[in-house]
């Protein structure tokens, strides 16, 4: 017993810092969610009000679409890039560095630049498409309700796939050359090597990276808020932005907190299910 209490003493400073930075805000959010702006207890009023708001289900479906669309393509594109960068070719070092650029550019800079490039009248993208007559008239990328979310997802993929690529590349480089050679002698083609040697070896990396991407997509604000603020007509309103706007634009801290609490619960469930189903393979535990 003596030993155990000494142990607690040692972790106490760290626990105090964690408590102030994490436990307190979480607890305070819980408190905010059941009070009004004046600090009076209002029970579940905030929850009721938030749930009955028309934007809430819209934001929920938008969030799903946003997270799912981003993750799948980020991972696929990132892994393919990693496999490409793992091959021997001239100028590989340069290509590796250049690949990282989107990930290095600050989010707000990237968002603003893309907003300009996608501008309906003056953007370079419409210019490049209309000049050689690939399309007849300019597309309102950011104003058209059908294109705006895919465009946001595309920007997010562009921003994050280098991260996936670099992490997976690090995993690929840890694979011994002998394994590739053994596979070649066993008769594997390049894509069979990818399927049977590379991907199984970097599975744990992909699982970890995907988890990070899910979390980052779930609490994402920068790109969407900087370009559309959730518009047009709530087409790109995802829950974190709804929370942000409820709190800081409508100054409804109680309702924002109530939404946060629910969102937190959903996120925890998603992450938990993901870890249970994908991250653990009892037969293969090391």
């Amino acid at each position: 017993m003596q030993k155990q209490s000494t142990g607690y003493l040692f972790v106490l400073p760290a626990l105090m810092v964690l408590g102030m930075l994490i436990a307190y805000p979480v607890a305070y959010t819980g408190l905010l969610s059941v009070t009004d702006n004046a600090g009076n207890y209002v029970g579940l009023d905030n929850f009721r009000r938030v749930l009955s708001a028309r934007a809430t289900p819209t934001a929920f479906w938008n969030t799903l679409w946003w997270v799912f669309g981003s993750i799948v393509l980020q991972v696929v594109l990132g892994v393919l890039t990693a496999i490409l960068l793992n091959q021997n070719f001239r100028g590989r070092a340069i290509v590796r560095s250049v690949t990282l650029v989107p990930w290095v550019v600050p989010g707000i800079v990237a968002a603003t630049t893309w907003a300009w490039m996608l501008h309906t009248e003056f953007g370079i993208i419409n210019y490049m498409l209309t000049a050689p007559a690939l399309i007849d008239e300019p597309v309102g990328w950011l104003t058209n309700g059908r294109t705006v979310m895919p465009v946001m997802i595309a920007i997010n993929i562009w921003k994050m796939f280098p991260f996936v690529a670099i992490m997976v590349l690090a995993g690929l480089q840890a694979i011994s050359d002998d394994l590739y050679e053994a596979a070649r002698i066993d008769g594997a083609s390049f894509w069979e090597e990818v399927l049977y040697v590379m991907l199984p070896q970097v599975r744990t990396v992909i699982v970890a990276v995907t988890l990070l991407l899910v979390i980052w997509a779930l609490n994402h604000i920068t790109i969407i808020y900087a370009i559309t603020r959730g518009g047009p007509a709530n087409r790109t309103l995802i829950t974190p932005i709804q929370i942000f706007r409820t709190a800081f634009e409508s100054v409804q801290f109680g309702q924002a907190a109530a939404l946060s609490v629910m969102f937190f619960a959903v996120a925890i469930v998603v992450v938990f299910i993901y870890i249970r189903t994908l991250a653990s393979n009892p037969e293969e535990t090391r």
Partner: protein, 356 residues
């Protein structure tokens, strides 16, 4: 099964040539060991045979087929790596059946062939295990099993026993040998360990500095090494060498010690030569040369004695028990018929018996 013909093969990395025209003929079913110190090009040659390295010059044929431009999978070879290179995420069964799976063999057939080979290698109880759950010797067997399942024309082994402890190495050596007797598949085996080469090979190829020094059966290389390198590399402890000259038909060491030769080597008068004698060809002989004892190493069955003779340190291996202490004098003679002479400059063996 197939023969393998390696004809004047060269390998360069840019300007640097590491194999300078190597030719080896390997008969169908033969067990050939490529042996040499590290950096001699033996592994490179094996990898060229496997198709893992390009061939810079010359020709390699398996059977009647020139394989220079063929991918590894088109060569009908199987290889066992030093690291075993087992797929860590696959069970033993999947590891062994992987090549058949890639070849789109029917599942039934794959399972049968894997089971048969596993039984042969005592792996039947481990088919569901992952490589990391196996001991070193078991992993080694899985690596061999993976090669055997394919029933290839040629087996290639790249230092397969280097990662095992001494006892297991001896055991696996005989298992590999037994499997070869059973399967009679042409085998090319690379090692730096001359004992492995001596004990396993039908034919040894001694390589050094990117060339073949000598090709022959183990005992042929042991008894008649073509040059000083082979003499020193094959055999443990190594052949003793003493520098000197031929004078008056006999050998005179640098310090003036005269050593009798079986014939008068008068044709080579005044030529600089190196005399070679194997440790077991020294005899205790009261009338022999006086040699100072440096160390005595009894191994039970025999005694290994390090001596100073004619200014050189030489090793003698005697069946008798030597009870002398370091610093004392031992009288030994060299069996004249067993003496080898090598040219002082080129190191090539001088066939003085024929000349005489």
């Amino acid at each position: 099964m197939a023969s393998v013909t390696i004809n004047n093969v060269r390998k360069s990395y840019g300007e640097l040539e590491v194999l300078h025209g190597v030719s080896i003929d390997i008969a169908d079913g033969e067990f050939v060991v490529l042996v040499g110190p590290s950096g001699c090009g033996k592994s490179t040659l094996l990898r060229m045979l496997a198709g893992l390295e390009d061939i810079s010059g010359g020709e390699i044929a398996i059977g009647d087929r020139v394989v220079n431009g063929l991918q590894p999978k088109e060569r009908d070879i199987a290889m066992v790596f030093q690291s075993y290179a087992l797929y860590p995420h696959m069970t033993v069964e999947k590891n062994m059946g992987f090549s058949l799976k890639l070849a789109r063999a029917p599942k039934e057939e794959t399972r049968d062939r894997v089971a048969k080979v596993a039984a042969m290698l005592n792996l039947s109880d481990y088919l569901d295990r992952y490589p990391r759950q196996l001991s070193g010797g078991q992993r080694q067997r899985v690596a061999m099993g993976r090669a055997m399942v394919r029933n290839p024309e040629v087996f290639l082994f790249d230092e397969p026993l280097s990662n095992l402890d001494a006892k297991l190495r001896v055991q696996m050596r005989s298992e590999i040998k037994q499997n070869h007797h059973r399967l009679k598949t042409t085998t090319v085996y690379v090692t730096h360990d001359q004992i492995e080469a001596m004990t396993m090979a039908d034919k040894i190829v001694v390589m050094h500095g990117g060339i073949v020094e000598q090709v022959g059966s183990p005992l042929d290389l042991y008894d008649n090494p073509a040059n000083l390198f082979v003499a020193g590399f094959i055999g443990s402890p190594a052949m003793n060498v003493i520098g000197g000259k031929i004078r008056g038909g006999g050998f005179v060491g640098e310090d003036g010690t005269r050593i009798a030769l079986p014939f008068a080597a008068t044709d080579f008068e005044e030529r600089n030569v190196t005399l070679g004698i194997r440790p077991e060809h020294l005899l205790l002989d009261a009338k022999g040369h006086a040699a100072e004892i440096i160390t005595v190493e009894p191994t039970g069955a025999e005694t290994q004695v390090l001596l100073r003779l004619a200014g050189h340190e030489i090793v003698g291996v005697f069946r008798d028990r030597i009870l002398h202490k370091p610093g004392e004098t031992l009288h030994v003679s060299l069996i004249p018929e067993r003496i080898q002479l090598f040219d002082g400059k080129s190191g090539q063996r001088i066939d003085f018996r024929e000349a005489a």
